[in-house]
Symmetry: C2
Subunit: 472 residues, 2 copies
């Protein structure tokens, strides 16, 4: 009978084995960060190559842990694209850092599930507290503190944060009798795809993308015209997403002007600063977020540029009451004294998932380990490197910048022809030495160079420039 092993508890790695393999993997990571610079930035394999190395069925018997570690190098590494390479200039960064990785380790070891305050008070209170710290660090509106009317919560990604905002705005409007099919969400043509996806997922009938000006910023006149046109057409404007630092070119929408329109028209204003939010650590960038007190919700991703490893997206609301009203459901098995007292935050009511891990630990450790000063210095260093690259490109008649570079993303093309841009984009990526993103703007190819990997230094930008110079 198959029940023969039933009376034995599972055999875990012993504490000694866990220590031994744990040390080995700490070493493996330390070595990886030192050698990552030498590896081709993007994985060079063909589709299916990793699966071919894997057995068709799961092993019946447990394997020695040494073999799992060996397979990291034999199977996994050829299929890794190195987001942690200092020559990673693609997309936006998704930075890891030593304190963040160690916090992720501890969080996994503790294995707490912070759905309710009571199921691990430290997870909830450290999250609230550190998100209140960020109000000061980023100069966000005072009323967004958890000790005031608003509050912050960690989500997985800015897509989740944006989707949550869309759902709450839709829910409020539906309570007024407005039908989702008639609801419209607005964003600029340069807005991240998560706005459009989030609106589709949340069941909005319409998404309207508003033209941008030559600074890649949403045109207020075009927004107002679209609102008028849609109302005239029987639709109901509900939601506007303004972006500080668009994904395409880090364009900055005119937040205050958009906010004033939203107040007048009673629209939900969501601000997406997924990438550029980190820059607000430095006062000299904060004019870009002027008008933030007009926002109903806000998201930025410490897992991009702030050295907290993915996933760690921050979501703030100016007023937490409608969020909780929309998302709270209390089954009998979750009732508890602390929740009923009203004295605590139960973060399960702040997002779609119920369960949640102790992600605040890594945000707390990163801020404490680098200090506010260390984080600001990193932002300034990357912006300086990006400015330098932009100056080199501008001074060279072979290239032209295609958009302003308010933060650390530089977008350019070749003056010769679109074909030359495409050739250069591919040639640099195919070198394996760096990776950047070939994209498009106004229907023409362009190249995005995102500076911001936490190990990127002057010499990596110099090497990139040599490569551009050589291959252009």
């Amino acid at each position: 009978m198959t029940n023969q092993n039933a009376s034995q508890p599972p055999e875990h790695l012993s504490p000694e084995e866990f220590r031994r393999h744990g040390y080995a993997l700490i070493d493996w990571i330390a070595d990886y960060w030192q050698r990552v610079e030498e590896l081709p930035v993007m994985s060079q394999i063909q589709p299916g190559a990793i699966r071919e190395l894997l057995p068709p069925s799961a092993p019946e018997h447990g394997e020695p842990f040494e073999r799992l570690i060996e397979d990291l190098d034999a199977i996994v590494m050829p299929g890794v694209s190195h987001w942690q390479s200092p020559s990673w200039f693609a997309y936006f960064p998704a930075n890891s850092s030593p304190p963040s990785v160690l916090a992720e380790l501890v969080s996994a070891g503790l294995g707490v599930q912070g759905m309710l305050w009571s199921t691990s008070p430290a997870a909830t209170e450290i999250e609230s507290h550190v998100l209140d710290w960020l109000i000061d660090l980023l100069d966000l509106p005072e009323s967004w503190r958890t000790t005031e009317q608003g509050g912050g919560v960690l989500q997985m990604s800015a897509s989740d944060s944006t989707h949550t905002a869309l759902v709450v705005a839709r829910h409020q409007a539906a309570n007024l009798g407005i039908r989702p099919e008639s609801m419209v969400a607005y964003a600029s043509t340069q807005t991240h795809s998560s706005i459009q996806k989030g609106a589709t997922v949340a069941g909005y009938g319409h998404v309207r993308l508003i033209d941008v000006d030559d600074q890649q910023a949403m045109r207020i006149d075009a927004l107002e015209a679209a609102l008028d046109e849609d109302r005239a057409g029987g639709l109901t404007p509900i939601f506007v997403a303004a972006t500080i630092g668009t994904t395409g070119t880090t364009g900055v929408d005119p937040l205050r002007a958009i906010g004033e329109v939203c107040r007048k028209e009673k629209l939900w204003l969501h601000v997406d600063a997924a990438y550029a939010g980190t820059a607000m650590l430095c006062p000299e960038f904060r004019h870009h977020q002027d008008g933030l007190e007009l926002a109903d919700s806000y998201t930025f991703n410490p897992h991009k540029w702030m050295m907290v490893n993915f996933d760690c997206s921050v979501f703030y609301v100016a007023d937490r009451a409608p969020l909780i009203e929309c998302l709270s459901i209390l089954p009998p098995y979750l009732k508890n004294e602390a929740s009923e007292s009203g004295a605590v935050i139960d973060y399960r009511d702040w997002h779609v998932p119920l369960g949640r891990r102790f992600r605040a630990l890594k945000l707390w450790w990163v801020i404490r380990s680098y200090g506010a000063e260390g984080l600001r210095s990193m932002v300034r260093y990357h912006v300086e490197l990006a400015d330098q690259l932009a100056a080199r490109l501008e001074a060279d008649s072979r290239f032209e910048l295609v958009a302003p570079h308010p933060f650390a993303l530089v977008c350019f093309r070749c003056t010769e022809s679109d074909e030359a841009t495409n050739r250069l984009a591919d040639a640099v990526n195919e070198s394996g030495k760096v990776y950047w993103t070939a994209s498009e703007l106004d229907g023409r190819p362009m190249i995005r160079v995102s500076v911001g990997q936490s190990r990127t230094e002057q010499r990596h930008l110099d090497a990139l420039w040599s490569l551009i110079d050589e291959l252009a």
Copy 2:
């Protein structure tokens, strides 16, 4: 000027410091798992106690890493509820395990972002492959393989999986001209709160909870009557969630009968086996999932009972085409050759978030480290311990079981009175020695004892029984 540090790259922990602190934290976790048994299972602190220990502002200068580690014991630990305690009998388990924790460490160190196949092929291919392994391990329908018409993807929680299924079903129905306000989702009264929450978030006009029979299983006649009534009332049935192992009592809905109704009525059938899915590793439990080939989507959580630390929820669809059609948006900065070839899976199109970390690594390592046999043995051991406890309760006239116990959850109350049940529930929890869930069934109090923490052994159940016997 504040710019004085701008030309310096950030100062990370050196490789030597990372190794030293990494070893220390590996040791800290190994020690934690050995001493967790001695700690009060639930945190004993009052609301606000952790925040009082934290400084009001973030530190301006980086702190020595030693201080962060010290604060683990000084600040964090008093606020931890110990899900990893072998005397954790509350909710369902959220198990950590040595191979899973080490994989989480490596995943954080690699810091890859697997939104597209090309942004780290290994993350995508290992995920697809291991989810195909699970088709065999759990005896799921063949057509759900990624190499066939369906496919599996990892999400954060079953709430996310269920919400995704609800969105795709709503999207399909809306394409046929059905208005969301008229759409109805069905589930039993014993269904997890995520169904109701997911339907609200997805904008369904109505959720209808169907009565259960004395086995806590959805009544088919009640489902059919509700469908008729709703259609007659001008509503449109869209979605049925059947549960294998409800949260309240691990009731099992009659899947095949529900599936046949869904086929006949053209309704989306979603199966929630968040907890009990792990039991299907063992053939003797698989009669509970008879009819699974009639499902459109399915979710189970390896992060509950399968020793993969939170978060790791599996979501399968029988046909991936409508999922991708609903959720795919392709902005220019994500275009790439591999995606355009159609030869690869881009998991960003399988859920709401865009970014995703390398969660498959921990699922892969847990399966390989324990082997199928080891995982099955764990399930059987826990079920045996639960059966034993149930037998003790049944044999004692002070107690009565309130529901069948097909897996490893035992639900009971005191025969004397509801007050006695409440008193016992509180007394046991207040002892600090174990933690279980005080809940309700049919408006009366009951006690849920969930056996399944990965370090729980016979002696912990014996101690629990002594405590019950003493305090009842």
